[in-house]
């Protein structure tokens, strides 16, 4: 009944706010611009989104896991602060790329990135690119990518922000940002520390318990420094350090196992860029990733270390105002060591990417094509391509894209003992998508109207051959090329916004319909053939309603996820759920210093739900945070 009332409220609430005639908003909902790096701006046909600025404010103390979970992405989350991975469009976590300033930062050993370890406050820009783009972003980017970046700003003086957040399950988070810049140099440090008791309430077989085995400590910082070395050139030094020490709680049916995981990551990058008719970008990077895991089951703790060395040269040439070509050469060496590999393993990769961009004289047409050839110490890989075209027609944008994809097996797939399989083939496939974005309000209302209505829709289809799964072969789990998987679906979005004077309200619906089925199998009479993959909901949507009045902002978000099957024959499943979160923010000034207060009620309806079987998520959690600018007359936006 309560949920039904909420629906009615959400459904008919726009009428109520029309009648009030309120004034303009202070906090705008503009989209954070996508930063350009490498040739990603040339993906004309692919859908790219960014969390709006209010999302960034409300989630300034959160991990990327929370940011994305509220934006209609299905996150496979093992619990707060625990492993959290993103699956796009019916793919699995291995098919999601995570790029930091254009460089892949997924773990080279597992092929995945843990979103609970990535704090949103460490990056100025976050965007999500849908669809496969192996030829641009490299192996593994079969279903989508998360792009993290920051852009140096010059001549902005000194700025400093600090914030603190505490929640009802005992998690204390602090973060901050310090930046200094003049005409020639810019430096920014962003940092955070989270000390989490993480004693959340959960339900097991109808009884409420308190989790006591999930505490963790995380801290980290990023430092981005840039010096202008000439009128059109700059040298950037990038650094990211992060540490995490967390207890891993047992599943509902495991005895206490006292499992513990420590992650320590160092990322260092040096870029020199020169822009002009011919532009150059030369970069070198070094990543050191360490993962230590221990539990009652191990006589010797698992201590994995991976070092990645990357060198890259990118050259672009403007042929004329509407044509551009480019070439990128990359040499990467990964050296990984763990007792489970019985020593160290070295993997060398070299790849060459070329691209061509064409736009019409009136900029209404855009076309891109890029190709990539990779050479690996595992053997040659096929050429991959990505091509797309977009067309502006009045107030609409139509886009079409095609990609030929591949994903190398991870080091664990190949070398983990027992079960690693050196005979694995790389996954390969094709991806096609088409979409349209309509600014309906431009058609219905006069210019500068207080109404804004946008509608978007995307259809996609992706086939992946040689899909890699870990499956038991005569009792021992091993990595196997087991099947062909076909994923297809429709994504739609609708956003309406009304703003007048200091008042604005907006409602957004994002929905997705995803079918991801196994079409071929190496097993005969496989009952899972043509059935939905596990942990891929067919239906999901996110509904958000935002009101901004003067300096107060309120947002109610409801996420729906359909049934997620947990067995391949669909005989077992996690039930569908409606999850409701509420955020409230207020911005003010005290002694000339900008201060933002934020509160949120996560899972306000106290829903018992799980994103991974036997890993219950928390019941209601209340958060309270405050952030302020230390200096007078500076805006307070910790991003």
């Amino acid at each position: 009944m309560c949920r039904f009332c909420l629906y009615l409220f959400l459904t008919f609430s726009p009428s109520a706010f029309y009648a009030q005639g309120l004034t303009d908003s202070i906090v705008t909902l503009k989209t954070v611009p996508v930063i350009s790096f490498r040739s990603e701006e040339y993906l004309a046909g692919l859908k790219t989104e960014s969390p709006d600025s209010l999302t960034r404010v409300f989630h300034q103390f959160s991990s990327m896991s929370s940011v994305l979970a509220e934006n209609n992405f299905y996150i496979k989350n093992y619990g707060p602060g625990q492993l959290s991975v993103l699956s796009f469009r019916g793919g699995n976590a291995y098919h999601t790329g995570i790029l930091w300033n254009g460089i892949s930062i997924v773990d080279p050993m597992t092929g995945t990135g843990d979103l609970s370890l990535i704090k949103s406050c460490l990056f100025e820009n976050i965007s999500i690119r849908y669809g496969g783009s192996s030829s641009i972003s490299g192996s593994g980017n079969l279903s989508g990518s998360i792009l993290l970046s920051s852009k140096p700003t010059f001549n902005n003086g000194v700025d400093a922000n600090i914030g603190v957040n505490y929640n009802s399950i005992g998690n204390l988070t602090t973060n901050g940002k310090i930046s200094m810049s003049n005409e020639k140099a810019s430096g920014t440090i962003r940092f955070f520390r989270e000390n989490a008791l993480n004693q959340y309430h959960y339900i097991k077989e109808g009884t409420e318990y308190i989790q006591t085995k999930a505490s963790y400590l995380q801290y980290g910082l990023t430092s981005e420094n840039s010096i202008l070395t000439g009128e059109h050139s700059s040298l950037d030094l990038l650094f990211w350090y992060q540490y995490s020490d967390r207890n891993i709680p047992p599943t509902l049916y495991q005895p206490p196992n006292f499992a513990k995981q420590k992650d320590e990551n160092i990322k260092l990058g040096l870029n020199w860029k020169r822009s002009g008719r011919t532009s150059y970008n030369i970069r070198t990077s070094f990543f050191a990733d360490q993962l230590y895991y221990n539990d009652r089951s191990l006589t010797v703790a698992s201590d994995s270390k991976a070092n990645t060395f990357l060198n890259e040269i990118e050259i672009r040439r403007l042929l004329d105002r509407h044509q551009q070509i480019g070439i990128t050469i990359n040499v990467t060496t990964i050296r990984a060591r763990t007792i489970d590999y019985q020593g160290s393993r070295t993997l060398g990769r070299q790849w060459l990417n070329v691209f061509y961009l064409l736009s019409s004289t009136n900029e209404k047409w855009k076309f891109n094509i890029s190709g990539r050839k990779e050479f690996s110490s595992l053997g040659d890989l096929p050429v991959t391509i990505t091509t797309g075209v977009s067309r502006n027609i009045k107030s609409s944008l139509i886009r079409i894209s095609y990609s030929k994809l591949h994903r190398n097996p991870t080091l664990n797939d190949l070398y983990w003992k027992p079960g690693g399989n050196r005979n694995l083939k790389a996954e390969n496939g094709n991806s096609l998508e088409a979409g349209i974005d309509l600014q309906i309000s431009d058609l219905l209302f006069k210019q500068n109207s207080t109404h804004k209505l946008t509608l978007g829709g995307t259809f996609y289809s992706r086939t992946v051959n040689n899909w890699i799964e870990w499956t038991p072969i005569e009792s021992l789990w091993t990595a196997t090329n087991i099947s062909q998987v076909w994923s297809r679906g429709i994504e739609s979005s609708l956003m309406y916004r009304y703003s007048k004077n200091k008042f604005s309200t907006s409602i957004r619906i994002q929905s997705s319909y995803t079918l991801s089925t196994k079409e071929k199998s190496i097993l005969v009479n496989d009952p899972s053939l043509h059935k939905q993959l596990i942990y891929v909901p067919v239906y999901s949507y996110e509904l958000s309603w935002t009101i901004i009045y003067k300096k107060i902002a309120l947002r109610v978000i409801e996420n729906y996820s359909g049934t997620r099957y947990t067995t391949s024959d669909l005989s077992e499943s996690l039930p569908s759920y409606f999850l409701t979160n509420i955020h409230l923010g207020y911005e003010t000034k005290i002694y000339g210093r900008s201060i933002t207060l934020i509160t949120s009620w996560d899972n306000i309806l106290n829903l018992d739900y799980s994103l991974v079987q036997n890993r219950p998520m928390p019941l209601r959690v209340f958060n309270f945070g405050i952030s302020m600018n230390i200096l007078k007359n500076k805006s307070n936006t910790i991003k």
Partner: protein
Amino acid sequence: MNMKSKTINRVISSLFLFAVLFACKKDETSSTPATPFTATSGGVYISNEGVFNNGNSSITYYSPGGTTAPDAFRTANGTSLGDICQSMYLHNDKLYLVVNNSGKIEVCDPLSLKKTATITGLTSPRYFLPVSLTKAYITDLFSGFISILNLQNNTVSGTISLSGWSEELIELNGKVYVANYNSNKIFVIDPLTDLVMDSIAAGPNGLSIQSDTNGKIWLLCSNDYVSQPGALYRIDPITKQIEFNHTFTLSEYPARLRKNNAGTILYFINSDVVKIDASATTYPVSTFISNNSRNLYGLGVDPSGIVFVSDAFNNNQKGKIYRYDQNGNEINRFDAGISPGDFLFIP
């Protein structure tokens, strides 16, 4: 509010309503109806491991009449069995269900499957072997020791240290022989003193062990998936000499060594089901049951010689059981739970 705004507002409201209704579509889920049962002589319990960490282990009961009772433990007790039921053992009119990733053993009535006790305090239990009416050993995947169980009060009364992963174990001539994955030995334990009294050199990665009608020990060693191929040994426990051995290739993954009631024939899975005579001097050149692109996973031989084989598909969905006569002809097939691994034949 002008007419145009009203129209837009109505459109939005309608779309919201549509979205809500669309999202409320009932998801299609399948469920298995509870089937009451009472086990009888000649019936078979099949332990289905389930998916690791999903807590969906189950027991399928197959009656002599050919009917099945899926998820019989939940039917009898109303709760989940736990995570990864690895093996079963019938002893002293009690059925012991070893639930590996839940670190426990459920003690049940063998006919109703009603739970009577739970043995906890185990790390990663694998196989159960009673050595007297009141004492049993339980091997372990991770702990590095065998646990000694007091069957009178269902507690762990002690441990016997071994190297790493200990798996199947048998009793022969008053001694207990334990297959061990992390050494190239079979460990010999005196059940009276609970001390390791000896060891027999064999191949590494030993997992499956049986004794035959001639009093010999058979050990099946696994492929380590990297560089060490699997192997099959027949060993004289008195002289500790290897009488027969066969080394597999690195692309073969032998497992589940089982025997017929008389101990004259041994069976195991090596992609196909292989049958070997207890007195064989050469490795058989033909297979007994071809896998036909199935993922053959569990194996059992009932007292009459009928061979039960499970197809686990990808181990993430319900498996299928095939029954074969002694000539390898299929008798029938039926459905089981996820990853059917062990068979217990009710005498």
